[in-house]
């Protein structure tokens, strides 16, 4: 009975952690692809992203390197990457729980059944 409770607990924890992972994945996707598209790509003056004020028009853009990287690489990729790394470290240390993985089934490995 205790084994089943431990197994069910692991399942609940694993499912919660999987949901957190998917949320982080979606946020990283939205930020990196979105930011790089708006500030790292060249857009014509009549494109909808410029018209909507989301991206700078071609005559207003200047090349600004930060520590040798183009600025859009720093804000769209390097910083989010470092943020994801920091979150992963936090998640591994404090977010994920330690659970009993359960005993190995007797049948299986050495027999084909």
């Amino acid at each position: 009975m205790a084994d089943r409770e431990a197994a069910a607990r692991l399942f609940r924890h694993a499912r919660r952690e999987a949901m957190v992972v998917l949320v982080v994945w979606a946020l990283a996707l939205a930020w990196s692809v979105g930011y790089c598209y708006l500030y790292g790509y060249e857009h014509s003056a009549d494109s909808w992203v410029v018209q909507a004020g989301l991206a700078p028009p071609p005559d207003a853009r200047t090349f600004r390197p930060v520590a040798g990287f183009p600025d859009w690489v720093v804000y769209g990729i390097v910083l989010p990457w470092l943020a994801c790394t920091a979150f992963t470290i936090y998640f591994a240390l404090f977010g994920m729980t330690d659970d009993d993985l359960g005993a190995e089934a007797e049948e299986g490995a050495d027999r084909g059944h």
């Binding site: 197994a7 996707l29 183009p70 994801c84 994920m96 027999r111």
Partner: protein, 675 residues
């Protein structure tokens, strides 16, 4: 066969030799583990005993393949900083590959005693058919992928050995109808040999060619491109030999490289099984990490400084201009901007990464990584959850260091060699050789006293891609072997086979698979890069959704998971097949139109039109992506501007959920796996 090598090549080989001895010793050491407990579980799964360090480095080393160190660098060199967006989903790959499934797949595998990925699916849904389908897909994808990896392994060692070219006399050069430059040579034994190389640009005009001696004999070819004269250096033909029995004429350097590579990796994988693969992964992972960090440091130092003018406001409030000297990465980025502004902005040269593909690649690395059966097996093998958590810490640090270092190294490479290794402008070589070239170039000035240690360090740097290929090959080799031995033979054909027989069969099949793949790599087809991408995409789309539904969704059913697996696979296969058909149709129609023009000019009767190509083109014109220009005739159809992975994944998800909702799950299985 006699081998003449330069002193530099010997130093490179000594460094390689040290690495290979280390790998061999680990293989022998790992064999001792095989006498513990169940042979099958130990040989194919390490008896679920992986600790954090081994788990972290085996996950990372298996995911990083030859493409990471050969194809990716050439893409950075050619396309510049946009490659940061192309690769950036590795920021979430540790979470997606380890935290998404880790605990749960390990728990489910323990419940049924599963040893392989098909085992997990088969037991979770009590479906031998599902197990066999999964086994078939793994065999299909991994066998093709292995041929490509073996080829890459042979090529890296060939580059390290650098045999001198064959003795030959240059006869002349011409441009053929496919826009290839064809150089003719007469070998010492009287045979004629040709070297083919793409024109530096499709509109390049061939001016002439002359033999020269640089570091070795070469032919310098001149072209006129857009009002400029550019040169390209083409090597003399390689030394070749005829294979006994098969009668194939093979490049001697490649053959030596392939035999050494295959011999080492087959021997240690067969002898040591899972433990040999994972322990060598640890060594290979450390070699790769040390290699990229050292190379990034040396590459930044090797970039020539550049001066830029910067507007400032003087103390008196007047606008002024100051000259500033940039060094290191800042100088490299500035040099790229001056070469071509598209190298520092999206979508890169030649519209390399439009928004749809940028989005697709983010999904590709993160979803494909999570859906690889070779990664799932490693998650079935860790010993406890603290090991998983600590391994996650290590892997995220490993990826950020490796990929950002590679970006920096090959942006610097473009600054150091502005055109030399570009296919479109180029002079000396092809972009795929930029990794070995950088390894040689950045280590050239290194000395200890009066002794040049550059070649020795270069050998250690070249060991990094070699290690990457080796770790992937070993993992895939064991996966194929386990699919044949465990999933097909033991679980389907002969369930009562004795442990002793299983032991003999496991050793025999692993070695046999390695030898067969090596024979395939002796004369591999030329479009392997697309096979690698196809197999990776196909695996991701076939396994990610079925495994996710099976592990986390009580309502998932056998029929739903089979539909998800087949749906993902068939959509990816279909889009690749349609891409190939489209390319063939467009080529046939273009060829017909060219023949019509020629016939009209000569007053000859019109040729027969390509009826099938026309019919297919008319019938499929409505399909998104049909008829659009693609980078290669083997490239897939990018429907809606998106990679086939996106459509395969969506089809798999829709079918998996839809069919599961239309069918009923087995209550006993739900109780067994969801408590």
């Amino acid at each position: 066969m006699g081998i003449e090598l330069s002193p530099e090549s010997w130093q490179v080989l000594i460094a390689f030799g040290c690495y290979l001895i280390g790998v061999a010793l680990l293989g022998v050491f790992s064999h001792r583990y095989l006498s513990r407990g169940s042979f099958v579980k130990e040989y194919f799964l390490g008896n679920r005993g992986l600790g954090p360090w081994v788990l972290a480095l085996t996950v990372a080393a298996t995911a990083i393949s030859g493409g990471t160190f050969m194809g990716f660098p050439s893409l950075i060199y050619t396309n510049g900083w946009i490659m940061a967006l192309w690769i950036c989903s590795y920021m979430v790959v540790p979470l997606m590959t380890m935290a998404l499934f880790g605990k749960r797949i390990n728990q489910v595998a323990r419940i049924s005693g599963a040893v392989t990925v098909p085992d997990v699916l088969r037991d979770r849904f009590q479906s031998p058919g599902l197990g066999i389908l999964a086994t078939f897909l793994i065999l299909l994808f991994l066998t093709f992928n292995l041929v490509a990896q073996f080829k890459a392994g042979g090529l890296v060692l060939k580059e390290a050995i650098r045999l001198p070219p064959a003795e030959a006399a240059f006869q002349g050069a011409e441009v053929d109808k496919d826009k290839n430059l064809v150089l003719r040579f007469r070998l010492a034994d009287g045979r004629e040999e040709v070297q083919r190389t793409p024109l530096p640009h499709e509109n390049a005009r061939f001016l002439g060619a002359r033999p020269i001696v640089h570091e070795e004999p070469e032919v310098e070819v001149s072209f006129q491109v857009g009002g400029r004269t550019v040169t390209k250096h083409v090597r003399y033909p390689p030394q070749k030999l005829t294979l006994p029995l098969l009668g194939w004429l093979i490049d001697k350097g490649y053959l030596i490289g392939l035999l050494v590579f295959a011999g080492t990796v087959i021997a240690y994988t067969t002898y040591g099984g899972f433990w040999a693969v994972t322990w060598t992964d640890v060594l290979e992972g450390l070699v790769m990490l040390a290699g990229v960090i050292l190379m990034a440091f040396l590459a930044i130092r090797a970039v020539p400084p550049v001066e830029v003018e910067r507007p400032v406001v003087s103390a008196s409030g007047q606008p002024a201009v100051v000259t500033e000297e940039l060094r290191g990465l800042a100088a490299a980025t500035e040099r790229l901007r001056k070469q071509d502004p598209r190298l520092v902005y999206g979508p890169g040269p030649d519209n390399f990464l439009p928004l749809g593909l940028g989005f697709s690649f983010f999904l590709m690395w993160s979803l494909m990584g999570a859906g690889q059966p070779s990664g799932m097996v490693r998650l079935m093998s860790f010993k406890d959850t603290p090991s998983l958590r600590r391994a996650l810490l290590l892997v995220c640090g490993y990826y950020v260091t490796t990929y950002l270092s590679l970006l920096i190294i090959f942006v610097c490479a473009r600054a150091i060699f502005p055109t030399e290794y570009l296919r479109d402008i180029g002079s000396e070589g092809e972009p795929d050789s930029i990794m070995p070239v950088m390894a040689r170039e950045v280590t050239r000035p290194l000395t200890v006293g009066s002794f040049r240690i550059g070649p020795l360090v270069s050998g250690l740097l070249l060991a990094a891609p070699y290690a990457a290929i080796m770790s992937t090959v070993a993992a895939f080799l064991l996966m194929i072997s386990s699919s044949l031995v465990r999933d097909l033979y033991q679980r389907t054909i002969n369930p009562d086979v004795s442990p002793r027989t299983m032991k003999v069969i496991s050793y025999g099949v692993t070695a046999l698979v390695g030898v067969v793949v090596m024979l395939g790599a002796l004369n591999p087809p030329g479009f392997l890069q697309y096979i690698i991408v196809f197999t990776g995409t196909g695996q991701g789309c076939s396994f990610l959704v079925p495994m996710f539904l099976g592990l986390y969704w009580r309502r998932a059913t056998r029929a739903g998971v089979i539909a998800a697996m087949l749906g993902g696979f068939l959509v990816v296969l279909g889009l690749y097949a349609l891409g190939w058909i489209d390319s063939r149709c467009q080529a046939a129609i273009a060829e017909y139109e060219r023949k019509v023009e020629t016939a009209q000019a000569r007053n000859e009767p019109a040729p027969e039109p390509p009826a099938l190509a026309r019919a297919l083109d008319d019938g499929l014109r409505w399909f998104p992506g049909w008829g659009e220009k693609r980078p290669d005739r083997f490239a897939p159809l990018y429907a809606g501007g998106l990679d086939p992975l996106v459509w395969g994944f969506l089809a798999s998800l829709a079918l998996g959920v839809g069919v599961s909702l239309m069918t009923k799950p087995d209550p006993e299985l739900v109780k067994k796996y969801f408590f």
